[in-house]
Symmetry: C2
Subunit: 465 residues, 2 copies
């Protein structure tokens, strides 16, 4: 541990030339684990990955940092989160999706824009210290963009959109366009703007279609919460249930989005020219074989959020079926308001337990597959695999190092297994995005986390309990 920490500090020293980072294990993800491996970095780009001696020979003048008994791997790609909701973690732990959603609206209304800025900073700093180098962020209050920029992580920042009243659609669309232009101005180099029509029960079919057209006109990716809960299925199928009644009353909408359709949420959305390779469906818990086929045929990607779905009583999304259908899938932690923490190790591990337990089959998901999904899989789901998701020459230097010193990592038969079954967010001690170290020796370099934590505790006092 001490060795790792001292080494991590050195890696913080910049250099114009080549920097080499080595460790007991390097996991390129696209090729086999390398025992005693190294990564050579030039500026923001990976130049070479291989056995340490070969890399040292190739770049004899490079600055070298050895991370000793640890694992270097690509930074995690968290396909779906809401960083702004970090202060809500642990607040509404025991409610099913429908009542949770309604109570959460109450809690959300208690915070000011300044409060959300603090919450987003708390979330962004947790990404850095957890080894999440890219986040698929759904922005509600608009404060995440600043936090993401300060923290220094990479993001697809999707602006959320709501709208059920088609009479107001043109105005909403014009406002959305203006907002997207502002965001494009504001965003940093590591951020791409996207659009996030919220869900089938908060966005009309026509507005979905209009947003899809707008996204394609602007060349933007877009995404939505889809088939998350039985409540959503009930609403789309028969116009009934808590989302048709209590929820609508709560938000003051006195009409239904649609005539009841008698179909699944996936089938419903299919009719409005939404699906394509630029669209990501988040959740997809309540889907049947025909739904999976419809998504696969149009190359829709899926953000799988196993912990959030389980905790809110939504269920277990059929990940093995997604993979069999060849769908691009990544993991999402979802927001801390539902899953409490943003720990991609926890998502990987929970996915294995949920899917093996439910299928009564140890063959449905392995540790190696999970690491692939949490890195390259997520990059593919977000349409960013040309730049990130694996350690390969030419890709961006987004990488992390995980400390394997704890006795429960002893012995290591397989580094994938040690990572997935043993590691936690606390074991990450080094995070680099685009060649820039953001976290070394477990110290955040871009964020004052003690200040953020103190402010977050103050914000907490405004919330119910």
């Amino acid at each position: 541990m001490t060795d790792n920490n001292e080494s991590a500090e050195k890696a913080n020293i910049g250099g114009d030339g080549i920097r080499i980072i080595s460790a007991t294990w390097v996991l390129p993800v696209t090729s086999d684990p390398i025992h005693k491996g190294a990564v050579a970095i030039e500026g923001d780009v990976i130049r070479a990955v291989g056995p340490t001696q070969r890399i040292l020979d190739e770049f004899p003048a490079a600055e070298v940092t050895d991370f000793h008994h640890s694992i270097i791997l690509p930074g995690f790609v968290n396909c779906h989160s809401h960083l702004e909701y970090a202060v809500f973690r642990g607040l509404l732990d025991n409610e099913n999706f429908g009542p949770w959603m309604i109570d959460f609206l109450d809690q959300k209304s208690k915070l000011s824009r300044g409060d959300y800025e603090i919450s987003a900073m708390l979330g962004a700093s947790e990404c850095v210290s957890s080894g999440i180098t890219t986040v698929g962020e759904s922005m509600y209050s608009g404060t995440s963009l600043t936090a993401i920029g300060i923290a220094g992580i990479r993001a697809r920042a999707y602006q959320e959109a709501f709208g059920l009243d088609d009479n107001k659609m043109d105005d909403s669309l014009a406002q959305l366009k203006d907002l997207l232009e502002e965001l494009e101005e504001e965003k940093g180099d590591l951020v791409e703007i996207g659009i996030f029509p919220h869900a089938t029960y908060t966005v009309s079919a026509n507005y979905y279609r209009a947003i899809a057209e707008l996204a394609r006109e602007l060349g933007m990716k877009f995404a939505t919460h889809l088939a998350e809960s039985e409540e959503e299925s009930k609403y789309i199928r028969s116009g009934s249930g808590i989302l048709a009644l209590d929820f609508r009353e709560k938000v003051g909408w006195d009409y239904l989005n649609h005539e009841p359709f008698g179909v699944t949420p996936v089938k419903y959305l299919q009719q409005w020219q939404v699906y394509g390779p630029d669209f990501m469906a988040v959740h997809c818990v309540h889907v049947n074989d025909a739904d999976i086929d419809a998504l696969a045929r149009r190359d829709v990607s899926i953000a799988h959020c196993p912990k959030s779905n389980a905790k809110l009583g939504c269920g277990i999304a059929p990940l093995p079926a997604f993979l069999r259908a060849g769908i691009r899938v990544g993991f999402g932690t979802d927001s801390p308001a539902s899953s409490n923490i943003m720990d991609m190790f926890g998502e990987m591990r929970t996915a294995i337990f949920l899917h093996r337990g439910a299928a009564q089959d140890a063959g449905v998901l392995s540790a190696a597959e999970c690491v692939q999904l949490a890195t390259l899989g997520g990059a593919r789901a977000l349409g960013m695999a040309d730049r990130i998701g694996s350690l390969e020459p030419g890709k961006q230097a987004d990488l992390i190092a995980v400390d394997m010193e704890y006795s429960h990592f002893t012995p290591i038969h397989d580094p994938y297994s040690s990572l997935v079954y043993g590691a936690n967010q606390e074991d990450v001690f080094f995070t680099m995005v685009a060649g820039r170290p953001l976290y070394t020796r477990k110290v955040l370099l871009t964020v004052d986390d003690e200040e953020i934590a103190a402010k977050a505790r103050e914000v907490k006092e405004k919330l119910w309990r």
Copy 2:
């Protein structure tokens, strides 16, 4: 973090009088969480628990240690493990129970008694650093007792028993009696000896009955692996499947334990006077309502091992039904050979995700219930709740402290939630058993963990991969 560590060191200073340990939160488990609470300890016993100021006033001369921003709770009671199998973690990660069991036999045969001693030490030291103060240990090679004694934890150490050939039963029983006598001599003050007939497919019905009689004669508790896998159900029901064929061929047994019974494993075992309040059934995944009723009526306790059951493709045991039936249930990590690590936080969290996900209901299990199961529930399942499992005056001073400094513990709305959804074994920084600190400032006081780790890596080289 720094503050916590410095304070933890002080707590290592012994004293003949009263010692007080305080923290931001104290969870007595049998009563509500105490914000700014303290525990007063005299020798090996808890004298008082309450708000810090009240405890300080009550014992003005006491030696006081403040753990600052952390949570003090009873040490975890891990109802089922095999410490001797720690070196096997991560070795056979992707096999279903039947094939896993057979391949594991191959791996087991590769190690010497000395190797098992090292493996058991690795496991026992992981208990200490993970906050497990009591373990329900199934002993195979007989090396765990030494490791448990050195580490200083509390245990019910069950001696495993095997035997299908009723012609040899009298000899086996005599040998078992002798062994139990030796173990009684050898064991330390914090250890109770028990008996562990291995499973329905490795122990004959008559031998089960004889062991039950012996246990009751000696006043010992006993336990067994029960209804773990579909393979076991198939074997008991119809005398077929991998346990009747490949497994028996592997171990060289050329006869069946029994005529096929056409019943469930629980129903099968019920006929042999095994069930009673002194008996613990480990796993109980493949049980129906009648089975649960049979176990509840005879006050059999259950060790629930959610991660092991899921990982080996066995399934999800119906914990909510156990609790509704009033059965005494505790969590077990099972051995690192199946679940890889011994992290009771992980067991609690995984249980929530599995049961909520499978039931599609957030109401089936809460964080507070999980902490209860992982401490007092386990103590009740092992029949030790008169001494351990909660922080109450008169109970043994078995307690741990968990660091809440990481940003993902910010803010804390509810300490149960923070512990269960956020904490991991690495966050434990202080472990005390019977008033004796075993782990302070994340340093093991009874074990040289670097030496053990180095030796464990050597043992690893003997294993397949």
